[in-house]
Each structure stands twice: as structure tokens, then as C-alpha cells.
Amino acid sequence: MKEEIIVSGRMNSMVDPHLHIWHWQIPLYLFLGGLAAGILFFAALYFINGKEKEYPTAVRLAPFITPFLLILGLLALFIDLRHKAFFWQLYTNIKLQSPMSWGAWTLMVITPVSFIWCALHIRDLFPKWDWKYEWLKSIETFFNLNKKALAWVMLIYSVILGIYTGILLSAFNARPLWNTSILGPLFLASGLSAGAASILILTRLPEERKLFARIDLIIIGIELFLIIHMFMGFLASTQVQIEAARMFLGGPYTMSFWIFVVIIGMIFPAILEIMELRKFHIPAILPALLILFGSIMLRFIFVYAGQVSRWLY
């Protein structure tokens, strides 16, 4: 029998018996950030492709929720900080090796960009909107002239926003469950999928609906592929990774992950989408909600399970 115990009563309660330094605030932010990234990505993509007229929900309408998502996300992050009085230090330093620093600065770029994008389309919601001040009007003109450049910035930064959260977690090699390079692409895919799902909920146009349903199907396929390869990678890796994977293959997180994230969040909506494409009538909102649910559960489960996985003891 092998025993490995801490005999001096270590009681660093956030670290023992396993890490629980991050609570609901982090997965919530990861979801909101990923969702915003997805929406802004499609907005920028279809604007650059000149498909603004065909897919107005994607390009003009859906982005209206992103400022709220980002602000809520930032608030969640702020609440999570333990040394709140010093949060501004994030913005007096750029640390290229710290994904958290990238994240801070990325948000610093993409949040104003999302506000600006919405401001440019404000008259879709409030036709009689008047900026009142001259300087505001001149800013509007400036961005309208440079809308394509703005869209490119938004495209790039939305990809960074979507992928960096996964890279951030995967940079923690101390948490074997997160230490896989598949996590970045997986989170990006999940975010894009969530974005596409929200556009599905908001749109009224059948063409737009068909496009984003197809996009969702493709992305779900990619996600399933990534998940399978992620687990194959874990099981072929070192003992700590095998144990991390076991949490999802018979361990405490098995039920919640495979049922909530994979079945309810990916496979079932995919089936519904396929049926829709085969002309069975499915309420549009159903698969979209399921995808959003799966997306948020993915992040919650991964953040909590990741903190349980460890190298020692």
C-alpha cells in the first residue's frame, strides 16, 4: 500500500484538498467572452465578405448584445479578483508570456470596438438617433469611412478573444486536465458555435437561418473531433493526464460532461439541425438554446474539473 499524506495539517483552504481558487465568475466570463467573440467574428466576417445585406442579423443586429456581454464578463472578472484595489496594474504592464495579460489588453481593444460597431448601427434600433455633439458625429463619420479596417480589427481580435481563454488554461501545465493545446481551438469553436446559435435565435431570414444552422453543424463536428482527440491525447500521455482524463471516463464528472456538454449541447442539437435541414419543422430556438447551454456547461465543467486535477498528492 502506498500512502502519501501531508502531516502538518496544511489548511490553505483555496489550495487544499484540491485547488478551488476560481469559482463561478471565471466560467461565466469564459462563456460571455466566447459568445461575444463568436458574434463579433461573424459580424466582421460577413461584413468583409460584403454579405451585409444577406445576413443583416449577423452583421448588424446580433452585435448589439456584445457590449453587455463584455461588460458583464469584465464585471465577473473584477469580482473574482482578490486584491481589487490594484486591478489597474493589469493596464500598466504588458506581459507577453502571460495569456492573462493578453486577455486584459484584448478586452481593452475589443470592448470599445464592440461599442463602436453598435454605435455605427444604432439607427437600426433607434431610427431617430441623434448624436447631439459634433465630436461624436465626426467620430461616427470617421469609422463609417474606415469600416472595413474596423471590421478587420474586430475579426482578428474576436479570434484572439475566443481562443486566448483556452490558451490561458492550457498554459497552466500544473493542471493536467487543462494542459492540452486542443483546449484553445475547442474554446474558440465553442464560442463560434455559441455565436452562431445566438444569431440563429435572433434572425428572421430563412437564408440566414440556413447558413448559420449549417455553420453550427460544421462547428459541432469540429468540436466532437477535437474532444475525441483531446481524450485520446490524455490517455496516451503521462500518468497525471491519464488520471485527469479518468475524471471524465468513469470519474465524478463523467455524467455531467457527456450528458450536458456532448449529448445535450452538441449531438442532440446537431440531430435537430439535420432534421430541420431535411424539412422537418423544428422551432428554431430549441437547438440554439441547447447549444448555448452546452457551451456554458463546457466551461463550468472544465474550470471546476481542471482545478481538481493535479500533479502531487
Binding site: 500500500m1 500512502e3 502531516v7 502538518s8 495539517g9 489548511m11 486584491h83 481589487k84 484595489a85 490594484f86
Partner: protein, 743 residues
Amino acid sequence: MTNRRDFIRITAYSAGALALGGGFIQAAKAFASPEAALKVDLTRTPTYCEVCFWKCAGWVYKNKDGSIRKIIGNDEDQHCNGRFCPRGTGGVGMYYDEDRLKTPLIRVEERGKQVFREASWEQAFEYIAAKMKTIREIYGAESMALFTHGSGSAYFTTLMKAYGSANVAEPSYAQCRGPRDEAFMWTFGEEAYSPEITDIRDTKCLVLIGSHIGENMHNGQVQEMSDAIDKGATIITVDPRYSTAAGKSKFWLPIKPSTDIALLLTWIHEIIYNEYYDKKYVEKYCLGFDQLKEHVKSFTPEWAYGITTLTPDQIRKTARAMADAAPAVIIHPGRHVTWYGDDTQRVRAIAILNALLGSWGRRGGFYRPAKQPVPSYPLPLFPAVQKTWQDLFPGMYSFAGGVVSNALIDASIPENNPAYPIKGWFVNGTNLINTIPNQANTFKAIQNLDLMVAIDTMPMEITGWADVVLPECTYLERYDVLRVSPHRKPAIALRMPATDPLYNTKPGYWIARELSKKLGLETYFPFEKQEELLDWQLKQIGSSLDEMKKTGVKTFEREADDLYFAVDEEVSFPTDSGKIELYSSAFEESGFDPLPRYVPHEDPPDGFYRLIYGRAPMHTFSRTANNPNLTDLMDENSVWINPKVARLWGISNDQYIWLQNQDGIVSEFKVKVRITERIRWDSVYMVHGFGHAQKQMKRCFGRGVSDTQLITKVLVDPLMGGTGMRGNFVTLITEKTEQEAAS
């Protein structure tokens, strides 16, 4: 009058200001970073530790505002060599523990119900003095008994003697080291002392019989064992449990519990019949060799194998290892040796083994201690003592060199028919409830008393049974007697207060003196301030209080270069015969075995396991269980169970269970299970000192289990009254049945 809008606005501003202010405070603290700690000025005062009884000398460091910061060892001190153990380092917790006794208490309801009223010192002393006078009138002064442990023993002993009673018992005698002191006394003419005179740092072979140095954190012993390991010494551990010492041993003998005497006798056989013994030494210094040789003739390793389950090969190899190292070999006398009732005989076997190997008085064996003579202030003669404890039950425990505490307790119960009753107890610094086995007997004794006074720093169990509780301040807040301990060089250490007593607590000296005034005995405490007495004493030996305050410790030179025997030295041992008595005629004359014999002890019945207990290095008995720094390290004990046993019972690791002993006593609280290969399948092990039932001690109440509660069968050593505690067996209860819950 502000309207609602203003109110909301003001509230919002205030909330904002509070948040901002909170932020500022956070900011201020952050800017006062750990690196700023570089500039801290600390002052220090000398003390010696009172957490356990090793009494290491050290320095108490205080912050600028006078608050105690940390305690560090005194580099000049032979006991600790500048390094304190975790209890000593954690001594700050004793001071800061908010659950401390704060004011004198007088009982207002039935004894044991723990209902007290707060009283002034004056009221408390009046109460006590009145009762003491009554006891003396009706029963005689000898009916007052004092149970004591620690530095305060001196003052309360003086008080008792002045009052007319010599019934002063230290439970550390009959409940702990008594048998080994008598065994060595009746072999070598000297006890094993405290600190033990074991020359571990220079030994080549250290043999531990059940001794668990490393978990038993007697500082000097652990330090010297580490030195021995560095020098490549062989350690042999005889223990049914894989102790920390066993983990560092070359040979671990996983002996069947209670069979140690068989092993020792076999070793003696091996040492004699293989002629490993020190012939010159034995011939010159020892008496009774021939009888010994005849006595151990049949105790072969094969014989021992059947009894101890140790293979003959192991026994022979270890005997050889001891012989190869001789005379730099120590068969350690142990410390807490009250196990099975034949303990004096077992340690006699240890003493004999040491004598045969010639380790007594030799380097790497046992050295000659030197103690600095410090004069006591001349006091008036004590009144003649009419009766002593030996008169209580005449003829019992005739070889006891110390007062037997359990005899005093038994004499408090009329049904035991003592020659005279014990009607009053003073209990100073010892938690008798967790110290004396067979708790029911102790409770019964207490209920028969006319007076029970407890002096303590914490609301330990014993205080709940007192009539008057006197709160003493901790050792960090008071002066005390000079520490004058025997060691390689004679040395003294000073204890002075680092800070004033907290709450309404007082030093032991003051308590004894004030009480003496009420009894008209103040001539026995001529100095009002203890520091004046200390200064007087120090001046007698060429020092002074001022000097000691600066150095803390003063080491003197030995009078002669006699740390070890000189070659061919004519040594006269302080025994009856002047020689080392391998064969004890004194024992024989009183009808006891002159040479140790193996007597089998009871085995656990089916479904029961022997209860073995021990120490943890971060705690001292039950007294540190509430210390905040030390509970951080260990806040409950666990019961060690062998995996085979756990499988049998279907128990999993970290499960909580109750324990029930052979007399049907069920533990009051649950204890955590530790499934480990370190314990034999016929025993369970736990650390002593937990399972506190005092709600006032918030950190330790209900945590873990009290082994004392489960020790109801007491195996008394007929030679000197030691209370053997390892003859109890427990079974495991995984659910309390309705019946047990109702009882």
C-alpha cells in the same frame, strides 16, 4: 431633515467611500509589504519553555509595540542548541489563545457540573484557606495532597510542606517514567534523569524499545539522534508500529506487543553466551553475573521467536550489532514506560543489558551528569510530617522513590480503607482527567473530597471538577525558579516575563505566597517579588539577575574531567553493594524477582485490538490541543488501522468511527480512521491528548478521541505503583446503535 433622495444619495456615497476606504486600507497593507519587514526592530527577553518538560532556554522576541512575535532558542543552551521544537516555537499560541482562563472561579453547583461564578483572588484565597484549615483540624495536614507538574511545583510544594503535608505527587512518576527510574536506581544506583543522560550524539548503536524519538519530540534527544544518523550510527527500533524512528532504523523489529522482556532476556543470553559482553567491565563493576548467566540459559532466539514473532536471525543480528558498537551503545531506558505492570522489571532488563555491554559511564553510552548547585534561601524548618503517603496503604509500592499519585487518589475513596483519608487536592499544571487511567475512579475520588483546587492556564478537564479554579498566567508572562538541570556541563537558565500577565491571571509564585499569607505561613515566602529571590540566589553563585537577563543561560565548567569513567577508574556506585547490581537482592528480599522474568500478558479478544498510544511531535500531551499555531499543524488525532483489519470491517480511509473498549466504555467522540501499513493487525494506534470534552476550548472540543477515556484496565506495577496502560483493547463501532446512544 433630508428627504428620501438625499438619503439614498448619502447612503450611496457612504457605501462608495467605504469601498474606496476599504480599497485604501488594502492598498496601504500592500505597500507595507513583506520586504518592509526587513526594517523591523525586535527586542528580546530570556525564558525557558514550559510547553513540555525538556525546558529549553530561549529568547522571546517582541515587536516595537511590545507584543510577542516569536520564540527562538538560546544558542548557549545545551538542551536545545539554539533550536526550539515545534511546541516551543508555537508557544506564542499559548499566550494568544483567547480561550485561556481569565479570572478565578468558585464552584456554585455540584462538582463536575462546571457551573462557576467569577470571583476575586481575595475571595478565592479566603475560600481555600478556610477549607484547608478545617481539613487540618479534622483530619490532619497530611490529608491535603498536591498533584503538580512544571515550574510551579516548587512554590506549591513549599506551601504544602509548610502547611504540614508531604503528600506531593508528580504524575510523571507513577504515570510515566517512574518504573525506569527505579529500575536504573536499583541497578546503577542512579535514575536516568531528565534530560536523559544518554550520550546519543556519540553513540554507534541506539536501541529503542518502544521509544519513539522523532514523534516524542524531546528536543535534545531528537537533535542528538540526528547527529548520530549523520555519523552513521546504527539504530535498532523494537516497536509493533513503524514509528518515525523505525523509518530511520537499520533494523526494525516488529515485535508482538507486550513481549519485550522476552526479547531483552534473549539478547542478554546472546550477549553472554557468545561472549560479546565487556568482560573487564563486568568483572570490575558488576555483581550477580553468574546468577544472571544461569537465569538466561534457556532464553534462546528460537524460544523468543515463538513469543515475540521476531526471527532468530533478526535477534542474533541485532545482538551482534549492539556488541560491535559496544561500549558506544545505548539501550534507551525510554521515557513513558508504564505499559503492562511489569515495567520496572523490563527496564531492569534494559539496565542489565547496558551494564553487560559496558555502556554505563562510557562515551556513546551514558555520561555522568553535572548539576550546578544553587543554594535555596534559608527557610524556617518545615513542621514535622505526621504521616506520609507510604502510611496510606502500608507495605504497598515499597520500591517507589517518588510519591505515587494513584495511591493518593485511591486514598481519597473511603471504600479503599486507607490508613487516613485524603480530603483535599491541589492540582497544579496537570490535567489529571487525561493523565490518570480509569477516569471513573478519579471522578469518584474527587466527589469524596472536601476541597479541590485547580491551578492552570487553560480550562482543561480537571478545572471542571474543581471547587476553586485559579488562573495562572503563561510562562511568557512570569518569573519562575532558575532552571538547574543536570547535563554534560552544569548550567542554569533564567525565565523572566516577556510581557505583563493578560486578563486577571497571576504567576504561580504570587498565588502560593498570597495563599500562604492567609494560612499564616508567609515566613516561608520571605521575598515579595520573585526576582529578588532569584537575584539573591544568582549572587550566591557569582552571577546576578542583570547578567542572566542579558545572557539567559550560564554554563559552568565541570568540577572534574569526569564526564565518562576514566580507564580503570575505581567507581563506587551508589547502590547497597557499591557495584552495579545485575542481581537485585533487595528485590528478592521483598519477594519480587531478583532477575527479570518473561510473563505473558493478555492478548486482545476476538474482534478487539490492543490500544497503543503515543505522541505527535507538534503536541505535548493534552495541553497544546487548543493552541492556535499547533492546531494548525494537527487539530485531531486519528486511529491507525491495518489495511487487513480495515478490509475485514469494511472501513474506508478518513471515515469517522467510535471505539469501545473491553469494559464497554465507548469513546465520547468519533475519531478519523487512518488506514496504514504502519500498524500491526492486532493493534490500533492513536496520538494521546485529544478528544477534549471542554466546550470552553473551542478549537479542540470534540476533535478526535481521548485514549485515556478508553484506558479503564490499569496494570499496576507492584514494585512502585506505576500504572500500566497498554492492557486495554478496543473494538470498532461504525454506527452508534440506538442502545449505545441512549446509554
